[in-house]
Subunit: 378 residues, 2 copies
């Protein structure tokens, strides 16, 4: 129940034990062609999606190298650990990052973003995180894309894609960066980037040194039949992703979104039911991670440790300024209602051991009522 | 029998089906600590070795980003497809690459390299490929490191490490770049770099933009107990690598080198026995890949296709200028004598189908005699 890497379905695990096939064979070509088509269905885009042997951070670095030239101005929303990482990364590559900072757990203000773009001349692109794993807060990307429609938009969807609705083409998002290890139910090791035509035009003018993540090299290799990657791909993880994407699409993408919304709703009800305070907004947008304050005077590291050691359930503590103060329940990916019920039950039992006054079952009951009302019990 | 990704042992395959564990758990910490120690045993170094979710090309790009500043002078040996890639990559990052070009299949001339360094002032580092997968030719790295001892040495050992002796510390090699998918008997998706103290000092002065592959970030994360990676690692492949390294060290690193030398010797004897000409030097150094000319007028693509379709044995054709002219038998990693015998037998049968005058068994017999003489029959 940590926010990634997340558990993977047994069929996806099993595929990890298949013999390694060579990446230039027709056999792998068939898998890779299907993976590319299914990724587009999940990213809700007709744009090219390039797959890298890399974590999401690598694919993100690639977006910066491929779009910008040193000194370019970029607007970066920072309302958590990952927004903060993109600010640092932009500056590491010599960009002038206009940082819009919000407290952790506070959503980005799209009106302020539009105002900033109107006021600051020369901004070439705008970056926002979909689901801030560090806080559970999901930004309103539909509104963000509208507010920034005059520039290229870059969305970090590493922990959001496949859990939180992200309608890439409908909303006009140019670049989406993602990773394999969260709601895509696949081991870590693959990074993705989808690139619109407008972003590809911006890329053509970029003068940042690059090689491994170069979009021109990727585009050329993908144009072959069957499509290829310019360098050796992570064959076994791509074969696992193929199974995971088929499972996800068999459930139905909209159904997957609805399941995540329900898991988030039940988690929040459970947290409130046991008398704790939510961290971040209490809204359906937050469908990937639920974060909560621990009671005053308690260290969330103790709670996380106890839940793992005594109950075998791994949740996450806080990062950065929230270390020790909040805990986070990840529910993006291969999770169902009973995962949430077990997690809330374990949190109740662990809080009781830590002498927090609690009526066992209040949190669990609140979560159960969400599932009961929705008619979903698995 | 292609030069990578190569087959992996069944135990390593099976480990790919284990449940994903979180990369911040003590459980993963134990695996990762052991992997780091065993990598040092295989790289024959006390230096730090950083593991990336990336292919070898990514780790190589990282070496360039971490060592140099734009405009720096670097000497690059180019005697094949990969040497050529490092020239291109150095130039993509704004380095002044002094290219020492040799015909494909010709070993780098270490005297000429020493002369060039003496003549050209200001060269900061020198790059050479250990085993040039595109030709089978292995460069004399001991001599290269001696010839370039005044500058930082960077060795591409992607297809060589664990197959061809590379005595990193003994020979004074500063930076070794490698990948998981060849003689390390692990799926593709991990890149490695070992970094000497001298290279780390050069890194401290480098002003190249970088983030994902940043050595300072890696060093900081590795200094924790247990060691960590700065970004999400490719957990499942690292767990597989752990098994593969244990197998390799159980066989014994020197024994592994000897096995590869023998496989190369038998492959070369088989090639000559069937009346074909070797591509590249006929010497024990070439222990990872054996390359051979096809008979005049034959397209090696036809031979490769026939061997795969009719005999189920995958060898590789030529790359770049050697396309259609040579074929390559990879024997780096999980291979034994009967893999070589089967490959030579299949080549003989395929050549016969292609109307090449051949006495079946001549090549196989020559290979068998190598194994018989050595006392190794498995």
């Amino acid at each position: 129940m940590s926010p990634g890497p997340t558990p993977i379905p047994p069929e996806v695990s099993a595929a990890g034990a298949l013999p390694i096939i060579h990446h230039r064979t027709p056999e792998f070509g068939e898998v890779f062609t299907r993976v590319n088509e299914n990724l587009k269905r999940v990213f809700l885009t007709e744009n090219d999606i390039f797959t890298y042997a890399a974590s999401g951070t690598g694919a993100f670095e690639g977006a910066i190298q491929n779009l910008f030239s040193p000194g370019d101005k970029v607007l970066v929303v920072n309302n958590g650990n990952f927004g903060n990482r993109w600010v640092k990364m932009s500056r590491a590559f010599g960009l002038e990052a206009i940082e819009l900072k919000y407290d952790w757990g506070v959503k980005a203000d799209n009106d302020e973003i539009a105002d900033t773009l109107a006021r600051e001349p020369g901004i070439k692109a705008a970056v926002c995180v979909l689901s801030e794993t560090s806080t559970g807060t999901v930004n309103d990307i539909e509104g963000f894309a509208r507010a920034t429609e005059d520039v290229v938009t870059i969305i970090d969807a590493v922990s959001g894609i496949g859990a939180c609705p992200l309608r890439t083409d409908e909303w006009g998002v140019d670049v989406v960066v993602a990773g394999s290890q969260k709601a895509l139910m696949t081991p870590p090791g693959l990074g993705f980037v989808s690139v619109s035509e407008r972003a590809m035009r911006m890329h053509e003018e970029s003068r940042m040194p690059r090689f491994y993540f170069d979009w021109t090299a990727a585009k050329k290799a993908y144009a072959k039949t069957p499509p290829q990657t310019p360098w050796t791909p992570a064959v076994s993880i791509i074969i696992q992703l193929d199974i995971a994407l088929q499972q996800l699409l068999a459930e139905g993408l909209e159904e997957v979104f609805q399941r995540h919304i329900l898991l988030g709703r039940a988690s929040r009800a459970g947290i409130k039911g046991m008398g704790l305070k939510l961290f971040g907004p209490d809204e359906d947008l937050n469908s990937a991670v639920t974060a909560a304050w621990v009671p005053d005077g308690m260290d969330s590291k103790a709670l996380v440790r106890l839940m793992f050691r005594e109950h075998g359930i791994q949740v996450a503590g806080g990062q950065g300024p929230m270390e020790g103060r909040i805990f986070r329940i990840g529910h993006c990916g291969y999770f169902d209602s009973y995962d949430i019920i077990a997690t809330i039950a374990a949190a109740e039992l662990a809080l009781e051991s830590l002498d927090y006054p609690i009526e066992l079952g209040n949190g669990v009951g609140a979560a159960q009522r969400v599932f009961s009302k929705s008619g979903v019990t698995a």
